[in-house]
Every structure is written in structure tokens, then in C-alpha cells.
């Protein structure tokens, strides 16, 4: 394929930026879609004209599908669209229904973006990069890809966690991937990598929201100079500083913990549940835990069973006395001030390395120290004993010990909270994208 020379038109203020997201955060909560949407909302305040295209699978909300349509509007909102997808091949990350790509190409020609910014290729396909590249070469535009997860590298849901023992994977290779998926040959993984790299080579600039993510992709073979580091931005809340400095409970105790995120295996909730049991077993019961989140339907059946079992345990316990663990369900970003007001600490027991962790930004936004697993991007964002506390990943005993310290150590919360810095704002992130990518 011959690519036309890149033409960058700086200062052309009416440029259109097509942001491509895996799902819409108003339909399915998740970090990637939230980050992408925050950027979209921030860009709307600039001279650029952003367009937000979010994928949707039929089995989630079949009523959104319209016969013969692949791209439709979204709830009457301006510049927000849904890409109605089917036929996705998760092994190869390609779409088995080429007619959807033809309509995507038609959408590009019709909407005329100057920048196409993928935040995900899942639900679309890596070959959509080729279509985008072809279109952009005809208009002198730029192709941007923000790296969320490690899907191009790792077949295990892009988490780089070994399937047979849950340990972290520090390097993908055909042989190692074959160990994780013995029914797939090393050759399959070689070819899959060739397919992925071929299409990622078409990207002008990669955005890594963390240095950790950048390092993983550089180790895998993406040229370092093609990846720029722009932390994801979060919308601002009026008066957040006041919340951060709130004194907590009248008793002065800092014994209220909160989990925010998806209720799926990789987020480490079961480690938290075991830690709660261990704490009680050791005689510590004067604490509360709020579980805020959704997407339990995407968790494994084993996880769901254990989750339900814990809920039942807590329900029984609550009937006998005070409710210590609350399951608050799905939350919206707008709910954060209220939810954060009820907790002191944010728990992040993730079992995989993560790539940014919007929940850390949300915690910092409200001055909450974070208790997190001691791996991956968490090491980058949270400094142990400075603005949060680390525990050994996957260890409920370690988490219980750290939670006990958080509850009992005098002035610990105040000291750590004082070191929490506000996270990058969405406006700042948008500005960096405009300066460095678009």
C-alpha cells in the first residue's frame, strides 16, 4: 500500500475529530468509554468539531438496532452516534461482516473528519484502521489511537494475566501465549501479532494515558517516538476542594471504604470480600464498605456465584445488626460527589496491571487516598504511604492488614489525603491532544 505524505494543517480551527469508542458510557459503564467521552465533551468547548461514535452490540440493547442501519444517532444528541456491530472475531480482532466496514467508510466520506481518533478497535476490527488510513490519506488527515488495555498484545482479554494461574504476564510471545491457550498454536499467535502490528503501523500517533502502558507497548515493538503520554482528563466538579477537606465522621474515624468500578473478575472484588471476612475474623468490624458499580453480567459465572454468595452473607448479617457493606449499584459520574462524601478511602484491588484507572482520578478529585494492588499503573499513580497504600496483589490477608492500618493508625488519612493532588482535567487533556496529536 502506498500512503500519501502526511499533511498537517495546524491552526485550522474548524477541524473535525472523529472519536471512536468501545461502547457509550451512558449505556455501559467503563473506563475507556468514560475517558473518550470526557475528551469529546471537552473538545466540544474548543474550536474543533468533535464527533463521538460508540459501538453497541445487539445482545446488550437489541431495541437500538434498526434494520439495515449500521450507524445511527444517539438519543437525539448532536454529534453522537452509535455503531451497531455484529460479527466480531475476538481471536483476530476483525469483523466478519465487511458490509459494516463499507458503511463506516461511507460515514467517513460523509462526515469528513480531519482526525480519526480510535480509543478502541474492539467491536470494529483492526481492518478499520486500514479504512481510516485510506480515507485520511485522501484528505491529509491524521490517525490517532489511544491505548486502553493490551488487546493487540494479549488474547486473555488484553489483561496480560496468565490464564492458568492468574499471575501477571510481563512479555507476550507465541510460546507463552500458547501456554495460556493450549488449543491455539504458537503459529496462530505469530500470525495474530503480524495482523495487529500491520494495522497499528498505520497509526500516526499513539496516546498512552500512563507511562506504564507506553512501556508495555514499546517493549512489544511500537516505536517509542510514536507514543505520547497524555493522562486522561476528568471533568471538574464545583467545590470539590471542600469535599476533599471534609472532616469525615463526627467520631473522627477514617473507617469508610469505597469500591468504584466494574463488577467483573479482573477488578479484584473477591479479594476484597475475603479481606472483609479476614478483618472480621481478626476482631475488626467497625468499618463500612460501599460497592459502587455495574456490569456484573459481563463477569464469569464463577465470579457471579461468589459475588451473590457474599451478598447473601451480608444480607443475613445486616438483618442481625448494622449494615456494614452496601451494594449501591450502577453510578453516574454526576453521582460522585454524593458517593464520595460517604467514604474515606477508595479501594482498587485490581488483579491486572490496568492502563490508567479513571477511578484513581475520581478518588483524587475528591481528596481520597487510594488503597491499591501493588502492580502496573497503580504503582505509577499511587505512591505507597504518600498518597495511598499498597497491598500485595491478590492477597486478601495483605489487603485486610492494610485496611486495618487505615482504620486504626492515627492521622494516617490526614497525612495521605494532604498529598493527594487533583487529577488532570478533561480540558487540559483536550488541550494536550490538540497541541500534540491533532
Amino acid at each position: 500500500m502506498r500512503f500519501l505524505p502526511q499533511i498537517r494543517v495546524l491552526g485550522k480551527m474548524s477541524r473535525k475529530v472523529l472519536l471512536i469508542s468501545f461502547q457509550h458510557p451512558d449505556l455501559v459503564r467503563g473506563g475507556q468509554q468514560q475517558i473518550c467521552y470526557e475528551l469529546f465533551a471537552a473538545l466540544k468547548k474548543t474550536q474543533l468539531k468533535p464527533i463521538f461514535l460508540a459501538s453497541m452490540q445487539k445482545d446488550i440493547l437489541p431495541g437500538l438496532f434498526k434494520g439495515g442501519a449500521v450507524i445511527t444517532g444517539f438519543d437525539g444528541r448532536e454529534a453522537e452516534f452509535l455503531f451497531l456491530t455484529a460479527g466480531y472475531d475476538h481471536d483476530w480482532h476483525r469483523n466478519r461482516e465487511p458490509w459494516r466496514l463499507e458503511i463506516f467508510e461511507e460515514f467517513l466520506r460523509g462526515s469528513k473528519p480531519d482526525v480519526i481518533h480510535f480509543h478502541h478497535f474492539m467491536d470494529y476490527g483492526l481492518e478499520y484502521f486500514a479504512a481510516a488510513r485510506k480515507y485520511l490519506d485522501s484528505v491529509g488527515g491524521r490517525l490517532i489511537f489511544t491505548l486502553h488495555e493490551f488487546l493487540a498484545i494479549c488474547l486473555a482479554e488484553g489483561h496480560m494475566v496468565r490464564t492458568f494461574d492468574g499471575s501477571l504476564c510481563n512479555r507476550a510471545s507465541p510460546m507463552r501465549c500458547h501456554q495460556c491457550f493450549p488449543n491455539k498454536t504458537p503459529e496462530f499467535f505469530s500470525m495474530r501479532t503480524m495482523w495487529a502490528k500491520h494495522h497499528l503501523d498505520m497509526v500516526d500517533t499513539f496516546v498512552a494515558t500512563s507511562l506504564f502502558t507506553k512501556s508495555v507497548y514499546v517493549d512489544w515493538g511500537v516505536r517509542a517516538e510514536k507514543i505520547i503520554h497524555i493522562p486522561a482528563g476528568h471533568r471538574e466538579f464545583p467545590g470539590r476542594a471542600g469535599v476533599a477537606s471534609s472532616p469525615g465522621q463526627p467520631s473522627g474515624k477514617r473507617n469508610r471504604f469505597g469500591f468504584f468500578g466494574q463488577l467483573i473478575d479482573s477488578k479484584g472484588l473477591l479479594v476484597l470480600f475475603d479481606a472483609i471476612r479476614a478483618l472480621r475474623h481478626s476482631g475488626v468490624s467497625d468499618f463500612t464498605v460501599d460497592i459502587n458499580g455495574a456490569n456484573l453480567e459481563f463477569a464469569s459465572s464463577e465470579f457471579r456465584q461468589q459475588y451473590e454468595a457474599f451478598c447473601t452473607e451480608e444480607e443475613t448479617r445486616a438483618k442481625r445488626g448494622v449494615r456494614r457493606v452496601r451494594f449501591n449499584g450502577m453510578y453516574d459520574v454526576a453521582d460522585l460527589p454524593r458517593l464520595m462524601a460517604d467514604i474515606d478511602w477508595v479501594l482498587v484491588p485490581s488483579k491486572w496491571a490496568e492502563t490508567f484507572l479513571m477511578v484513581v482520578s475520581e478518588a483524587f478529585l475528591f481528596g481520597k487516598p487510594v488503597i491499591c494492588s501493588n502492580i502496573g499503573v497503580m504503582l505509577e499513580r499511587i505512591q505507597d504511604n504518600i498518597n495511598g497504600l499498597h497491598f500485595t496483589v491478590g492477597s486478601s490477608d495483605s489487603l485486610a492488614s492494610v485496611m486495618k492500618r487505615a482504620i486504626t493508625e492515627a492521622d494516617l488519612w490526614d497525612r495521605l489525603s494532604a498529598n493527594v493532588l487533583p487529577p488532570p482535567t478533561a480540558d487540559r487533556s483536550a488541550q494536550l491532544h490538540m497541541e500534540l496529536c491533532y
Binding site: 483476530w92 465487511p98 463499507e102 481492518e127 507465541p174 498454536t185 505469530s190 500470525m191 503480524m194 495482523w195
Partner: protein, 504 residues
Amino acid sequence: MRLHEFDEDCYLLRYPDVAQKVRSGQLRSGRQHYIRYGFSEDRQAGVGAQAVSAIECGFDALKMTLSGAVFASGWINDVNAPAVRCIIGSPEGTARFEIGDIYRHPREDIEALLRSRARGEHGLWIFNSSLGPLKPSDVDVSLYAAEGPLSKIRSRPELITDAEMRDLVLGFFSTRTGRNLQHADVSDLERGLGNEFIELNRRIVRNNKRVGVGKFGPKGRRVTKSLVVCLYGAPEFLPLQVALFSQSARSGDAEFVFVNNSPEHNEFLEREAKQSARLYDVPVTVVHTGENIGFGAANNLAVQHAGSDRLLLINPDVFPKDADWMKRHDDFASIRDRKIFGARLYYNDGSAMHAGMHFVRSSVVDENSVRKELLSTEHFSKGFPDWVDDVTTTRIVPAITGAFMSIDRRHFERLNGFDEDFVFGHYEDGDFCLRSRAAGQPIWYCADVKLWHMEGKGSKNLPSHDGAKRLNRWYLTHKWSSLADLNGGNEVFAANPGARQNVP
């Protein structure tokens, strides 16, 4: 009962008292007995629905095709009176299989069933590719010993297609068990089975080299290289190859010609070809066959739709390793005597997969110490590091793999392409190289052209393919074993005029 329905064999098998009198001369025939006594005694004179048999036997499968191929398999306990003839009778006529046409093999299940009986080749099967056009009707299958009838059964054969028949019998051939099996294979193939397979396959190839051709991508572009790929069972390789090869330097004057040996993927491949041609800006042609006509025939068919004078025959699981491989290819191909050459192929682990091939003679021996020769091909330095001399040295070699062959089109056509009598795949590449050498063209291995080969991952493998591999190995041996030095230079062919006669 009408007299013309009387069946002598069944009557004697069913009524041993009558058979005894016929053998002793008291009666001229069973028919005479039926007229005089049997009718009034209400004896059964026709074939009937139940098998009649003097021995223990049974048929597991009876299959036929409308074009006249037949296959029957079963078992027989004929240690005391060995079966020497099988007759299949139908309203259209009768087919006789003499002892040389009846294939035998041990069956452990029957040996277990018969327990204390003597071990022997209780398995029995027959296969004929061309009995002539048949109608789906009942047939009588009779087995005879030298002394007389052994059993008779009337059955309606299952009607299948020629391709199903080929796959079934080759699968049966590959999965049968036995002692000194390789020797038994060669013996059976030599005494007629090989020709029956080849004849049936010819008919399949002849009848299925048709169907449609889809052409996609840029029109009117000057094409100097045709990447010809035979797909079977793994259509996902089309977009992968187009994407990766189109990224190679100097790919701007290349086209892809895919030939599809899996008709069930036609629709999928048309869509993929259309999309890939558009996305990666390269001409893509898809040629559909009606059945799996095999690697050789499919490539021959695809070449007819190629638009250039240089053919790069590539397996679906071959991918570029170096971005400039095509430039190096073009440079090498531009030298005058490089009518045909192969490339340095790598396994995905980085070790050498191909650096040329050579021929190997081996022999197989039966329980009577009778030897039979078999030829095969082996790769030089397969699995070795890529810095050993064989891998790094561009040179003339006895043969190259069909996974990647760069061939001058006129040379390919002068040799009539691959020999289509090699069924499915295997060994047609070695045969083509021998024919090239016999025609005076050396086979080159070019160490500078480097590609990946995910060997065996580009297609599915079935028992019938293993059967075909055995058949093809025998066929290669049949064609070339008379040539004394298969790995020598072209002077070998000059000194062996007989070898040239093998060239079609």
C-alpha cells in the same frame, strides 16, 4: 415364487442338505431340487432380505456413486475356505472382483469377536472407480471360495458423490490397521488400488474445474507478479495475506490469485476479497472450484487466471519476513536461468523451515522379507538455526517445497503445470522439480528471499489427506524410482533418457 427369481447360490447356502446332494452328484443342481421337491416343501428360493451365509461374515458399508464407483467393506471368517471372488449384481449388470481386487487387512474387533479362532486378515474391502453408470437400486453382493458360494446379501447401497467416495475410501485407507502396514499399502496400491484412486480423482477434477471467478480491486494496473494461493479449509488467510504482502516493498505491480478448494467458503471469500482489494489497494482474483480438486489442479486452474509472466505459488500460511523480500525476489528472478526457485522459509520460532529439498529412498518389508522401495522428500536443515551453510547458501538443489515456488510462467505451462494425479497435496512439488530438471531447468534455492511459513496451519487435515499422502508417495515412487540418482545434477537426466519419458 417365480422360477426366474430362483437363486442357485442362496438355495445351496440356505439348505446344506441340498448342497450335499449336489456335491455328491445325487442332484444336478439346487434348481432341480426346487422343481422336484423344494416348491412343494415350501422352501425359499429367492435371495430374500436376510443374508444367507455358510460362514461368519458381514458388511459394514456399501456405497456407490452415480458415475459408477463402488466401495464395500466388511469382514469374513474364511480361514478354512478363503474368499477368492466377490460379485456385485444389479439390474444394470454384474461386476466381478477376483482375488487380486479384494483387499484384506487385519481387524482386531473381529478377532476379539471370534475369540479363540485363528488370527488372520478378517477385514475385507473392495473399491472400483468406474463400474459404469449406476442407478440407485438393490444389489446382490456374493462372496465365493474356490469350492463354491460363501455368502450372499441383498442390500441397497448408499448413494454418495464422487468426492465423498474419494474422501471416504482414502480415509478408510489411511485409518486401517495392520501388520507391516506400509508394505501392505504399497502392495495394494501396486495391484490396482492406486490406479482406482487416481481414476476417480481425475473424474472429480475434470467435473469441478469450473465455477466462477471474482475479480476485485484496481483495474488496468500493470502486473508483473502473480501471487497464487490455494485455499482449503481456512479462508481467514486471504485478508491476512493480502494485508501483509501488500505492505512489502515493490508490491505495487503484484496481484493475488486465490483459488478456493472449499466451496462452502465461496460467499465468505468473495466478500473478503472485495474488502481486502479495496482496503489494501491490490488486484485480487478469486477462483472457485466445485469441489476440493487438490493442490496441483487448483494451482493449474489459478494460473490460467493470472495476469503476469511470473508466478509465485504460495501456501496460505506463508507471510513476508523481510519488508524487501519482493525486491530480492525480483532481482533473483531477473537472472536468465532462474526459471524456478524457492525461498528461505522460517518457522515462527525463527528456525529454518526450508532451504531446499532432496529425495530419500527407503524400503519397507513384509513378514516374508519382501522389500518394496518408497521415495520421499526431505528438507535440508529443517528446524536448524538459520546460520548453517545449507540455509545461508544460494545454490542449485534437487527440489523445493510447494509452499513457495517462484516460476517463470512459460516454463510452468511448458510442463503442463503440476501433475494433477497427485491427490489433494504432497509430493507434486517434488515431481514438478524432477520434471523441470528433466526439461533442463535447474532448481534454485535463493537464501536472500526470506518468508515465514506456519507449516500445516493453512488448511485443515483429515484422515483422507493422510490416505492421499500415502497414495502420492507411492505415485512419486512409481514415476521416478527408476532414476538412479534423484539428487544429482541435470546430467543425471541426460544420462537417463528413460527419466525423460516420465515427463508428460
